[in-house]
């Protein structure tokens, strides 16, 4: 996909700890680090390193230290989180708040306490106030309350920026915070019950094509817009932030392109070769009307911005899904 412009020399000289490294975004961070020659990539596993507990976090840093090349510095990519759609957020708001707040607090605190060079944590576009003007700019992160249904999640994520600011002010420890758009790509969650919009539509349309279904009925009018960003671009953006930012950065990381769900579905149909009818089911809700992230700040900061065209990224996603689709469900 996008040409890696990260510096192999930089990554060959340090250890990286990647929380959530066996997940979707984290998995792509690990793959990119490996490609760049990073000599030691430590991925905590839920069974042995429960990051919601201080004991689990301490064990992670101890186990990572044991694997670290002598004298090498280390950085922390904190990508792990409890994620889910509006439905799950509504059903388990306390868990979404507690688990994300606890993980972020503990992982980033102990990253500093154990002498990491820098840390990076991923936040979410839905941390922005519900009524913030689009395209969303970093400056408006605190200008209002987020969408009520996922406020626990969104505000736990928002606190990343407070942790970043305070740990820099007192300890000069840089914590970068990336606010992600709608990330999609190979390895995404395709679980029909919880998949986000892009992977859900890929699955739906591939199945419709194979089954010769005369029509599909995606939810909503298709008019809602989202800011889709390819996961490979996100991984690269995260590495570049650590590599290039001396001071803690709070930045949007997305394509900055507003794409309607209708365009998304049409693109996937074309890629999949599905020729049936698309009947929008306008009795189903559209969700947020519009969302896009302003990439001006990030572009200046990283001297780069996600550039994988949606069409290309979707091709990769469809190919990956087709190759992996007979696997058992990925949900635990």
């Amino acid at each position: 996909m996008a040409m890696s412009t990260a510096t192999p020399e930089y990554w060959r000289a340090r250890q990286a700890i990647v929380t959530g490294g066996s997940g979707f975004v984290g998995g792509h961070v690990v793959a990119l680090l490996r490609e760049l020659g990073c000599p030691s990539i430590f991925v905590p596993l839920r069974a042995s390193h429960d990051l919601r507990t201080e004991a689990g976090v301490l064990r992670m840093f101890a186990d990572a230290a044991a694997e670290r090349p002598p004298g090498a510095p280390f950085v922390v990519f904190h990508v792990a989180g409890r994620n889910g759609g509006i439905g799950a957020n509504k059903a388990y708001p306390a868990e979404f708040f507690y688990e994300n707040a606890a993980m972020n607090l503990l992982v980033l605190h102990h990253a500093w306490a154990h002498g990491a060079q820098a840390a990076l944590a991923t936040g979410a576009g839905n941390s922005y106030p519900i009524d913030a003007p689009t395209p969303l700019q970093e400056a408006s992160l605190w200008a209002g309350y987020p969408q009520a249904e996922s406020a626990g999640y969104a505000l736990a994520k928002r606190m990343l920026s407070v942790q970043s600011q305070t740990y820099w002010a007192q300890h000069r420890f840089p914590i970068h915070v990336a606010l992600l758009g709608n990330v999609y790509g190979p390895g995404d969650n395709f679980d029909p019950a919880t998949a986000p919009v892009a992977s859900a539509q890929v699955r739906r349309i591939v199945v419709a094509q194979e089954s010769g279904a005369p029509s599909i009925s995606p939810w909503g009018t298709g008019a809602a817009t989202r800011d889709f960003v390819y996961v490979g671009d996100v991984a690269l953006g995260l590495l570049l932030a650590v590599e290039r930012c001396a001071e803690p950065a709070l930045f949007n990381l997305s394509s900055g392109q507003e794409t309607s769900v209708r365009t998304l579905v049409d693109s996937i149909c074309a890629i999949v070769g599905y020729t049936g009818a698309v009947n929008w089911d306008s009795s189903k809700p559209d969700g947020a009307r519009a969302r896009s992230l302003d990439m001006t700040h990030a572009r200046a900061l990283l001297n780069w911005a996600p550039d994988t065209p949606l069409e290309l990224g979707l091709r990769e996603t469809v190919a990956w899904y087709r190759a992996h689709r007979t696997n058992p469900l990925t949900s635990s």
């Binding site: 029909p192 199945v207 279904a213 469900l329």
Partner: protein
């Protein structure tokens, strides 16, 4: 009631024939059990969108119009789900079965083979195959007071209808695979006489209870209240909520067993067709004469199943809703449907 509701909160479910009578009721029930995803596969030949109207407003329901006679379609329908309720089949009243035996046999065996291939391909953990009391030999159903049939009496096989033969083949297809040690666990209920909301109201193809209700409701403006047969034939009926309790519990039981069934799923008591007709006329509050249509010979004189195995397998499950209460609920429901449906119901006699 379901015994382990957390079980359903983790299930991604496919319901084939999900726009049909049992299917649409099952979909609604699964939603109340907290299932996070329900795919409904139906070709809408007999199923209707209107049966699912309320369920379709729920974002967890994913309706797909699919013809399961198409093998690729059936296999794809099993993608990404961990529980399959396979209810789809070509169904109708006895008249329909007798008119189109070849089509019924060929379509239903094909659908069952295709669905089972889907379950095997995707290693679906839990599979429910809806079999039928029509698998039982006709000679056990020749008298109105024939003794209740036990599961083992399916053999030596001699079903009256090609529909029953197809169900036997469908059972065998699965049972042999389970015997060989396949990854899929299977529940096989043999259903008899479920009734309730969302049954076919077509006078030519519908089954006794909904057709009688319609005739009574439309009396005296509709067709005469004619009933096929002598009225002395006996049947076993139970209300749909009891069916659903048993179906859900049977699948839950698969957590501990590779096979649940085949078991009879119905009410132990039996009633004559005449009693059914009289009850419905009573509910209507009208004075309706019944005209008995004996122009065609009675095929099945008495149909009653012994359901003690279901009770044993399913923690004492038994049909609980009293016949009269179920008939009243059905009658009100059909009354409402006929008032609002207009174009949806075939008004030809």
């Amino acid at each position: 009631m379901s015994t382990s509701t957390h079980f359903w909160k983790d299930r991604r479910v496919l319901v084939t024939g999900g726009a049909g009578f049992i299917g649409s009721n099952l979909v609604a029930r699964l939603l109340t059990e907290g299932v996070p995803y329900v795919r409904v596969a139906d070709n809408l030949e007999r199923g209707r969108r209107e049966y699912l109207a309320e369920s379709m407003r729920d974002p967890r329901v994913d309706f797909q119009q699919i013809d399961l006679r198409n093998r690729a379609a059936a296999i794809a329908a099993c993608d990404g789900v961990d529980t399959v309720f396979h209810l789809a089949s070509k169904v109708g009243g006895i008249g329909y079965y007798l008119q189109k035996p070849g089509e019924v046999f060929s379509d239903n065996t094909q659908i069952d083979h295709n669905m089972w291939a889907g379950a095997m391909t995707h290693k679906v953990p839990y599979y429910m195959y809806a079999s039928s009391a029509h698998v039982y030999p006709i000679e056990l159903q020749m008298a109105p007071d024939a003794p209740p049939i036990h599961e083992h009496q399916a053999y030596p096989a001699n079903p009256e209808l090609s529909y029953g033969w197809a169900k036997l083949i469908g059972e065998k297809l699965i049972l042999y695979a389970v015997q060989q040690g396949c990854a899929t666990r299977v529940a096989v209920p043999r259903l008899i006489g479920a009734f309730g909301p969302n049954q076919d109201l077509d006078l030519a193809t519908g089954s006794a209870i909904p057709v009688f209700c319609r005739r009574a409701i439309e009396w005296p403006n509709g067709a005469p209240f004619s009933v096929m047969g002598t009225g002395k034939e006996t049947r076993s009926f139970h209300y749909i909520s009891d069916t659903l309790d048993a179906l859900l519990r049977a699948v839950e039981k698969l957590q501990a067993s590779p096979l649940v069934g085949p078991f009879n799923l119905g009410a132990e008591g039996r009633v004559t067709i005449e009693e059914i007709a009289r009850n419905i006329i009573e509910i209507s509050g009208k004075d309706i004469p019944i005209s008995w249509d004996t122009s065609k010979p009675t095929a099945i004189w008495g149909q009653a199943l012994d359901c003690s195995l279901a009770a044993k397998l399913l923690d004492g499950w038994r049909a609980k809703v009293m016949l009269r209460e179920g008939l009243e609920r059905s009658y009100r429901h059909i009354e409402q449907r006929l008032q609002t449906a207009n174009g949806h119901v075939n008004r030809n006699a």
